[in-house]
Symmetry: C2
Subunit: 504 residues, 2 copies
Amino acid sequence: MASDRIAHAGLAAKCRSAEEAAAMITDGMTVGMSGFTGAGYPKAVPIALAARMTAAHDAGDPFRVKVWTGASTGPELDGALAKADGVEFRLPYNSDPIARERINRGEMQYFDMHLSQVAPMAWQGFLGELDVAVVEVTGITSDGQLIPSASVGNNKTWLDRAKGVILEVNRWQNAALEGMHDIYYGTALPPHRVPIPLVRADQRIGQPTFRCAPDKVIAVVETDAPDRNAPFTPPDAAAHAIAGHLLDFLAHEVHVGRLPASLLPLQSGVGNIANAVLTGLIDAPFENMIAYTEVIQDGMLDLLDSGKLRMASATAFSLSPDAAARLNADMGRYHDKLILRPQEISNHPELIRRLGCVSMNGLIEADIYGNVNSTHVMGSRIQNGIGGSGDFARNAYLSIFMTPSTAKQGAISAIVPHVSHTDHINQDVQVIVTEQGLADLRGLAPRQRAEAIIAHCAHPDYRPALRDYFARAMAGSFGLQSPMLPGEALAWHQRYMDSGTMRS
Amino acid sequence: MASDRIAHAGLAAKCRSAEEAAAMITDGMTVGMSGFTGAGYPKAVPIALAARMTAAHDAGDPFRVKVWTGASTGPELDGALAKADGVEFRLPYNSDPIARERINRGEMQYFDMHLSQVAPMAWQGFLGELDVAVVEVTGITSDGQLIPSASVGNNKTWLDRAKGVILEVNRWQNAALEGMHDIYYGTALPPHRVPIPLVRADQRIGQPTFRCAPDKVIAVVETDAPDRNAPFTPPDAAAHAIAGHLLDFLAHEVHVGRLPASLLPLQSGVGNIANAVLTGLIDAPFENMIAYTEVIQDGMLDLLDSGKLRMASATAFSLSPDAAARLNADMGRYHDKLILRPQEISNHPELIRRLGCVSMNGLIEADIYGNVNSTHVMGSRIQNGIGGSGDFARNAYLSIFMTPSTAKQGAISAIVPHVSHTDHINQDVQVIVTEQGLADLRGLAPRQRAEAIIAHCAHPDYRPALRDYFARAMAGSFGLQSPMLPGEALAWHQRYMDSGTMRS
């Protein structure tokens, strides 16, 4: 008998086991799954699918699929399918360690995309057809509308584009999520696109549910399983120092009149540095703040609780177990303070530029000119992916990147002569902050940027080598707009690969 | 006595010589000049200013200014001021050879910017104050409105932001330009930004003239001097081959239903390859095309004349002397087919994504993963600047880059193991075309992109070395998402610097 979460009789009649549903997915298919940063991903069907893949492989038969999602998911999806070697192609973002290993061993094709572009590109058609959507929802209304789960991601597009839809109705998700979402149905392919009518981060422009023709639904699977909520890593001294420099800078910008006292809509990446900044904002002299971001992390919730943050718009939750429990216990209180939107809206360049976001993201390395590598360790090994950082950094009112100045106990400098891979060109990087200090690069030409970054951001242990490289580049470069010695520019990376340290 | 181009008595009374006007600009000032690709730049005041600078330098006195423009200008502006060593800082784009030399000798700070961001960043304030605007106009109406010239660029912003305004009224510009411009006055700083109400390239959303409070005008200078119109370089065999591959691809996209038969709004860079593509479109099976682009070049005019292009929206003209004469002789006929807008509108990410532009730009080099360098020869010597290519490439419906596969008689390969500088990350590069062929990179992961680019785009002479590098990178890379050998990735560039060729 179907649960009370499934109020539509026709869909209740389609309840199947995860194994029965997974059997509808076959070798070579393209599958669009829900999920964004470990929230709202399907938890039963992918595991059952992985079991079928393993069985097929054991029998000598091929069984791999193409997997599209919102962003990262959980071990029950990316981990299970990667472990079964069942993923031939993956987009647009991954943070699962098993999948990461497969990708970096060359066993899985990974198309690392701007998150705002996934839905429109799926509509464009060059990615091919979408065979099946597997989408977690909180419930199904009596008229067949779908109540979204803890992330929205690309679900609207998967439901619209897929030939068949498998729904996971997860009763673990709080029923009070209903009404928190804002699903905008006004997108189109050109020449039929119109302005997106959002002018404030707290505005609703859509409807609270997904539409999905019931006859497209090929199976409904009931689940009762928690999201993957990664434990919270408390900020360390470096994170606090970075937050301190950044908060001083924001206060200065308010003081000189370049930012309002409520700042502008905040976008924040995840991790302990981001959390230190958000927590630091609780005691900072800014009131009535608002967030227009990708995910709601612990620090964002703390900031809401403090009363300093008025509301937050995002596409997903990304909470620790403690914070998830806090949210769940008191969902009603957050109801008017949180809006979850499709990622093509949360990350839309049109909206990010219009709202004027203050964008704060992490990086792997930056070079002396402020080009940023967010994705590839030593230029080749992907960590996670570009995610939404490009959507925000290029269109933000203020584009800030943060990192400790070294990694691996000082063996890696986050400031290098030349980035080994570029995700954010220097034009899109306005401020770099490390525990050493902050470089305000706005309006500076490349040689001026180099002076500022070496002086303010690099670790003192690496400053002499950076200054030495820059001085020699000034003498031996082909041109002096962005002085460079090609034969040596990436030597620090090669040295790390050869000797385990960038130090010479 | 003021000319009939100056119908406002108060402004007519402010007529001065270029020398008198130039004397209002002093050492250390920031000057916003009109001009975009050699059209509509001031032609008298900068020369008089350069003379004053030279005289000051001869007397041992400092005299340098910061120069902001729309994009490139003419020899009478960038050339004259650079020759006088009168420019301390320049933004956002330059193509003048004398200024380029100064920049690449490290004698001038050059802030190379996304063209859509110049006006909003000038409003943000971190670039500092704008002391004087020097703007060429076609005429002044009786109520003091300014009739724009052959480019719009950032003129609206310079007129609004500058403390004092010097107008050059150039009677060489065709009086029939009046009414061709669309100046949108709806922009603002956040949190006051609203949707830009443009949904079709041929739509007018503003007014035909600039507003400028007459009491801000400190001088009016009458001129009668032509724009710099560079002679047209006829397309060579490589350009025709590139155009052929690209037109076949567009026809295929129409055939499979991914583009309408009228295509989508075209954006095209300048140069003989772009002209070959535009000319090729005359005989291609597409009707009722439209352009939403930066500049109107010869090929665009030919395409208009053919009846295949319905209209073109841009921010400036960039015509050969012949084409300029043709346009001038018959301006009335083009009146309804051309719209010139501020560059913050012609290049606005919101509009480029909404309209779904088909974007076609040149490059200096691309690497095997499709990262593109548009600006820095050998990673350090700037050629021109990023211009609007980033605005278009990231937001286009279809982002295409074109180049001959080699340069310098084969001594330089346009396809390299690793770009020496990145302007366009691989996510923003969907199609690369050389005379060898076309690589459709949409939806491909990095290793797949490498195979396609080497096979279809690289010159056969360089293919073995690229395949050899890629194979060795597959064996020796830190990770295999984007295989790379940091110690060798830029060796081709160093070899060219050392020996004059990338060939080993």
